[in-house]
Each structure stands twice: as C-alpha cells, then as structure tokens.
C-alpha cells in the first residue's frame, strides 16, 4: 500500500469519525430503533417453547440488525453532501478505492456500535436453558454479516445520493440485495447454536465469506464509477 493511498484512507476515515462524533443523534437513533424493535418482537411473539427459542432469537436479532443498520447506512454520506465534501472530493484526484475503504471502515465502526448493544439486548431478552445464545462465534458471524451489508450500504448510499425519493428507494434495493448475506448468517448461526454438523456450518460460513468478498470487491471496483466527477 503506498503512502498517498494510506494517507487518503486515514483522512477520509478520520473526517468521517469526527462527523459522526459531532452529531451523536445519528448514532443513538438506530440503537433506540433497535431496542424498540426488539421489544415489539418480544410482545408480538410472546411465550415460546424451548425448541423454538433459537430460531426466534436469530430471526429477531438479525432482522433488527438489518433494519437498524439500514438507517445508519442510508445516512452515511449525508454530512459529506451537506458540507459539499462529496462534491469537493469528486473534483480532487483522490484514489477512489481509498475513499471507498475509508467510508467502508467508518460504516463497519458505526455499525459495530449498533450491532453490539443490539445483540447484547437480544441475548438478555431471550433465554435458552440448554446453551448460551451469545457466544463469541455468534458475534463473529454477525460481524461477517456486517462486513457484507456495509459494502452494499456504502455503494447504495452513494448510488441514491442524487435520486429523488431515496428514503423509499434505499430499503427497496438494500433488502433484496442483502438477502443472501442474511440467509447465510442466520443459517450458520442456527447450525452453530443447535450444535449440528460442523461441515454444514463451514459451508454456510463459506457462503457468507464468499458474499463478503464479492460485495467488497464490487464496492472497490464500482465506487469509483459512482464517485467520479460528472
């Protein structure tokens, strides 16, 4: 990695973190949204039998994550757009891969701040008498899912920046595109928690990693096209 690339990457990331810290509402609102969703899920589902607890825990955790991360992703370019940083960077001979990776790391960081409390809360609200629901492996799978979702998030956020009605458009494209990642994450977690065949677990984790690699590669390759000067 050459120095210019590194410097540009760190600058983009640093600026992004500063902007996120300056406006704490942006970080708190998805967490509050996630909490509300988890409570609603708990009310909606009510008492469940023991054999369904794993399925319900995974469904509500990953769906809550998907919805609340979507709020984070959709607004990731908002400060840049407001301060005209996006337009300035478009004119500046910046390395587009560094720009994408800077934003991508920022999204992972911010996403983790939503992901960890959501998972902890979901773990608290659900109790499995046979085995703990929150294991390091589950967190690892959730982070792998975040890695894939974040790449779609950054790309779509840049894509819908100039689109009218983007509040509706963003989730409409984001949800179908994120289905494979979500599917692989939920299935691998389910195999893991129910203590089934480890071969099957590796197949699902392999699929999840495969999607991550594809989406990040697509992100690096295509972001330049979206962010190039008009």
């Amino acid at each position: 990695m050459n120095t210019i690339f590194k410097n540009q990457y760190y600058l983009i990331l640093k600026h992004g973190i500063k902007m996120e810290l300056a406006d704490k509402e942006r970080l708190i609102s998805p967490i509050l949204f996630a909490t509300t969703m988890l409570i609603l899920f708990a009310f909606g589902i009510g008492e469940t039998s023991e054999d369904l607890i794993i399925k319900i825990f995974l469904a509500q955790t990953f769906l809550t994550l998907l919805f609340s991360l979507q709020i984070t992703f959709a607004r990731i370019f908002d400060p840049d757009e407001k301060d005209k940083v996006f337009q300035l960077l478009q004119c500046y001979p910046i390395n587009h891969a560094a720009w994408f990776l800077g934003k991508y790391t920022l999204v992972i960081l911010v996403g983790s701040l939503v992901l960890v409390p959501t998972m902890l809360l979901a773990g608290l609200l659900n109790h499995n008498p046979k085995a703990p629901l929150l294991t390091p492996e589950i967190f690892l799978i959730a982070f792998l899912a975040l890695a894939g979702l974040a790449s779609i998030g950054v790309l779509l956020s840049a894509m819908t920046l100039k689109a009218s009605g983007r509040e509706v458009l963003f989730p409409l494209i984001y949800f179908p595109l994120s289905t494979p990642v979500l599917l692989a994450a939920i299935q691998s977690s389910q195999v893991l928690l129910s203590g089934n065949n480890s071969d099957i677990l590796w197949q699902w984790v392999g699929l999840l990693v495969c999607f991550d690699v594809i989406y990040v590669t697509l992100g690096i390759l295509l972001f330049g096209e979206l962010a190039g000067s008009e």
Binding site: G165, L169, L218
Partner: protein, 233 residues
Amino acid sequence: MIILDKKQLITGCIFFVMLMLAWYWSLFVVTTEEHQGDVYRIIYLHVPSVFTAFLSAFILLCMSILGLWKKSYKSVQVGLASAEVGLLFTFLGLATGSIWGKPTWGTWWTWDARLTTTFILALLYCGYILLWNSVQSNLMRIKVCSVLGIMIAANIPIIYKSVTWWRTLHQPPSIFRRGGSSMSPEILSLLLINIAIMLAIGIWLIIQRYKNITLGEDLEEESYLQIRQQEGG
C-alpha cells in the same frame, strides 16, 4: 401514422402465432406425463418464462458493463427495457409456478428456496426500474443504473448456489424433476421449442420497449425545445 414498422409487425406476428401453435401443441397434442398427469402441461409456460427472465438479467449485465465501459446512454436504455421485460416474465414464472404448485404440492405458495430467490429477483427488477426513474441526469443514470445492474446480475448465480445448499440441507428436491431419463424426448423437444419461442418474444419485447423509451425521450426533448422557442419568441 405508422405505429410499428412492417418488419417489426411481421416478426412480432410470426412470434405470437408460433407461440399460440406451441401452446396448442402443449395443451392438446402432446401426451400426458406419467407421474404428474395433465397438470405438467403448465411447465411449457412456466419454464420458458423463467428462462426469459434470466435472459433479461444476462442482457442487463451486458448492457451495464457496456454502459460503464463506453459511458453509453443507449445501453442503460436497453437495460431498463430488459429489466421491465424481466420483471414481466419473473411475475409470469412466479404466477404459473404458484398455479402449478396448488394441485401438485397442495399449496399456492411455499417458502421454497427457488420461489424465494425468484421473488427476490422480481424485487430487484422493481428496484432497478424505480432507480432509473428517480435519477434525472443521463450521466448519473448510466453510472448508478449500471452499478445496480451488475449487482443484480452478480447476485443471481450465487443465489442459485445457495439454493442448492439450502435444498440439500433442509428438504429433498421437491420442484419437478426435469432430469434426462425421466423426460421423454417428445416432452423435452416441445419444452425446448417453447423456450426458444418465448426467448424470441422476450427479445422482441425488449426491442419494442427500447424504441418506446427512445421515442419518449425524443418527445420530451422536442416539447422542451418548443416551450423554449415559444418563450423566446
């Protein structure tokens, strides 16, 4: 005023007549399948529809790559046309699959992997069409729609890989088996004929839709020019 020129009209008519003949053959001439009985005749409509939906995705991918590479606006116009036709045939595939499922599986809809992924494809086509309409500038349309087109196409083969995994994990293959020996040559050849005709109709519809899009944009330009002329005069 000529709406469709002679060549388009004749090819369109030929394709539609061929489709009607193929359907007649599928419904009344070809022998009944042993296991499923007469209900299997729906596959002569269902399978070609799904094939045409995938052909549209392939055209969308080619046009998106071309759009990004050559920065050509024409290719995203063709992309929009193929997304629309793709949506039509995905809907048709879902609807006929669902109608076939009722007497076969006993239910209109089941969250089977292939049904779910096809449904996702329909949603992605909808997303593409909406995105195309909500971006105004031509250059942005080329960039944004081409990127989404590539993402949609990149998703299709991988979704299908996960389908096989899902099926082997959770349920035995329940969708009708088209595999070699179980299908008589008569049934297979008629199915291939139906697929070929439907693909031809799909391409014909994409061409017609593309022409409508370009004409529509010509109209917009012309009316804009006229308004400007009137304001100037």
